[in-house]
């Protein structure tokens, strides 16, 4: 690591002296240093040559075009994100609203069906008034029975089936 720091010129003065005196007596470290230099050349020189030769054709124009395109797209995307947000908002409102409505319907249905008069399916078929008896005829659906109700007076009722 110290050799690499030396190679990268990141050593202190005392470290530099230490490495340089060591290098005089160590062929392995000299080779390692040489390899690092060669590797750097392999990596760096082609890049430098390419950069030197490059004339950056139309790069700035393309950047300007890209920025213009982003601005145009920005308008659309903000509209789209507003719509998305609205949809999400609607979804957030509608889901609990529908759930509440369903619960209310369920409760109401229970109340309505419980309060429906349990007339056992009886319906008035006919009502006749006469000087003697008033008669009411009921028809029951279940069981299938016809009820004839005779009214003798305000207090008396007779039933015949």
């Amino acid at each position: 690591m110290l050799l690499e720091k030396y190679f990268d010129r990141e050593v202190t003065d005392s470290e530099r002296s230490l490495v340089e005196s060591h290098l005089q007596d160590c062929p392995a470290c000299r080779d390692a240093l040489s390899s690092m230099g060669e590797l750097r050349t392999l990596i760096k020189v082609p890049v430098e040559e390419v950069v030197r030769k490059e004339d950056f054709p139309w790069v700035w124009q393309k950047i300007e075009r890209g920025i213009r395109f982003e601005k145009e797209r920005g308008g659309w995307s903000s509209l789209r994100s507003w719509l998305d947000a609205t949809f999400r908002l609607r979804r957030r409102v509608w889901i609990p609203a529908v759930a509440t409505l369903l619960v209310l319907l369920f409760i109401t249905a229970q109340v309505i069906f419980k309060k429906t008069p349990s007339s056992q399916g009886a319906s008035v078929v006919e009502y006749l008034e006469s000087p003697t008896y008033n008669v009411m005829v009921y028809q029951m659906e279940e069981p299938n029975v016809t009820v004839i109700w005779l009214f003798e007076g305000p207090e008396e009722e007779h039933t015949a089936t």
């Binding site: 990141e10 240093l33 230099g37 950069v51 700035w60 950047i63």
Partner: protein, 198 residues
């Protein structure tokens, strides 16, 4: 940062495209060399330059001046270049005739054999770089191509100096392993070299 640069950045933060042009004029070669150092392909590197400056214009508002502006920009360039290699990384080619790669053929002093060798060498370097993990690749490009100090690298890479040294060390080790024939050849032909001047 000097006053001129601070002014340039704050104008750009307000959406001034002319200020972006000034930043482009000042830094496009550096951004290009980072991009080329990573992807080693001309057309792709030019696309990266374009992408980096568009991104910069969009996100420069987030630059708070806590670090040097160039390390902020280099980091953006490096991340964009590495994203490109990730997307295209699966298409690594071993062809020596890869279109757009470094072409030294317009240099009349070099013979055909030399040109071929150089082309092959460049392709091997590209393959070796492609095989590195992104962090090690970034460390090598920042140090060996751009010549950044460890401190500047730590800033650009968002890590400690110790991590920078470690990434550099392992990256170089892997590169030397991949290119050992070429490194050895060049080493023998030229002899030991002292640290190069940047």
């Amino acid at each position: 940062m000097d006053h001129e640069e601070i002014d340039m950045i704050s104008r750009c933060q307000e959406g001034d495209q002319e200020a972006l042009r000034e930043i482009f004029d000042k830094y496009h070669k550096k951004v290009y060399s980072i991009a080329y150092g990573v992807v080693r392909q001309r057309e792709e590197a030019l696309d990266i330059v374009q992408e980096v400056f568009i991104k910069l214009f969009r996100s420069i508002k987030n630059f708070r001046g806590k670090s040097q502006f160039y390390t902020y920009l280099y980091r953006m360039a490096m991340n964009t270049a590495i994203d490109h290699t990730r997307k295209a990384g699966k298409q690594v080619t071993s062809s020596l005739d890869a279109e757009g790669s470094f072409e030294p053929s317009d240099e009349p002093e070099k013979g055909p054999e030399r040109i071929l060798l150089q082309k092959e060498l460049e392709e091997r370097v590209k393959l070796a770089m492609d095989s590195l993990p992104p962090e090690q690749k970034a460390a090598i490009v920042f140090r060996d191509v751009e010549g950044l100090s460890y401190q500047e690298m730590a800033e650009a890479m968002g890590c400690s100096i110790g991590t920078v040294m470690s990434r550099l060390h392992y990256g170089r080790k892997r590169m030397q392993e991949s290119l050992k024939d070429y490194v050895k050849f060049r080493g023998q032909s030229r002899g030991a070299s002292l640290p190069s001047e940047e």
